[in-house]
Subunit: 257 residues, 2 copies
Amino acid sequence: MKQEITIVKIGGNVVDDASTLEKVLQEFSQISGPKVLVHGGGKIASDLSVKLGIQPKMVEGRRITDEESLKVVMMAYGGLVNKGIVAQLQAMGCNALGLTGADANIIPAHKRNSGEIDYGYVGDFNIEDIDTARLQFLINGELTPVFCALTHDQQGSMLNTNADTLASGLAISLAKHYHPKLVYCFEKQGVLLDSEDDATLIRELNYLHYQQLKDDGIIHNGMIPKLDNAFAARDKGVKVVIKHALELSKPAGTVLA
Amino acid sequence: MKQEITIVKIGGNVVDDASTLEKVLQEFSQISGPKVLVHGGGKIASDLSVKLGIQPKMVEGRRITDEESLKVVMMAYGGLVNKGIVAQLQAMGCNALGLTGADANIIPAHKRNSGEIDYGYVGDFNIEDIDTARLQFLINGELTPVFCALTHDQQGSMLNTNADTLASGLAISLAKHYHPKLVYCFEKQGVLLDSEDDATLIRELNYLHYQQLKDDGIIHNGMIPKLDNAFAARDKGVKVVIKHALELSKPAGTVLA
């Protein structure tokens, strides 16, 4: 019988605030059973870029990860944020192992091939390429993988990758060995009809309803890629919840139907 | 019967030069049998400090790792250098796993307790605290650990640690399960009587001879802590070689007798 596994994605706003991050990690450390943490980088990479005088490079309105920007995300996500989280989880008794997709070759990827725009060092991966056996080996060794959103091109370079997509991909691929539960944590109570009003929380959201809310302009901006990733996982049998980071241990948020 | 394991430490000068680093990693990737890489950080951390306007903090002539400097080494060693090496090794067919001492709690440490000077976030560890069973678990999983010189205080903070000491400590602790061979690689041919003349290479060096060369001022500066670490490992039965980074695959350098 397959065991349950919890994949928690924490967003940039959680990572940016030391006190929130500590509370969330405390709750995460207490989740029983196998678990995986995926974190975004928040403003740390942008702040570091500014301090280093690296200008964001845009082509046709899209942000490009050039070589200098790649170094910044490697430092910010792979070093500062990831290792900071690992040290904190260790202090909470959770045997964390910080990973990028390059480590143990768990998430081999390739540079985004978009045809028209060269996004630079941005990585996309095929879910079927994720080495779930390797991940299971680490988890069976009572380790808790902590992923930052970096993958690699298999040719010697790291690649910047979307953290929501990485979390969703890991959850889908882990369904081979486990019953995955994917929890997207952020600074809101879940999917809201009015993004400024927590009382408008949608407790259960199905795909048709989501499409309708998107068409009506009620769900917009950053929530769309997040929900697309969430529904991609839901579609493959993953349980998905979108909730406030400080409600990790509570039955709260928006459940995808 | 115990298997041989090779622990290679590459110094800052190797890490700083992209072309040298690539050649050394190529040779490292071809070492057969279990192996571990330990790398220093080189000038990358100092350069980053300068760019970020962080002044090196000195107390009584000793460098202090304050909170800002700790962030810099976490970014430079744990992020940029470590993940860059992992991506390169993966491209060479070596299944590298980037680690700090906090990851999987392999090297629990504590802040340096020197009595008089507070060195800040500088870590010392007891060799007997290294979790060699965990390390063996990863190595048995056909992974190649790549350590940067960071440990953690078990209270939520990473600590800056000397890379030579870390390599020596790992080699000594791995003697429980393997026959360790420790290779210190740097930009010289080995231990030289005249640091500017490769022809003065000492092919075999014993402890008494080392003490004498130290007393005579022939071996000095940075070589002393390196050799102290090297002899500490030799004393525990570890084979130790000090050689040029580009001679990794050749029977060259100074062997400790």
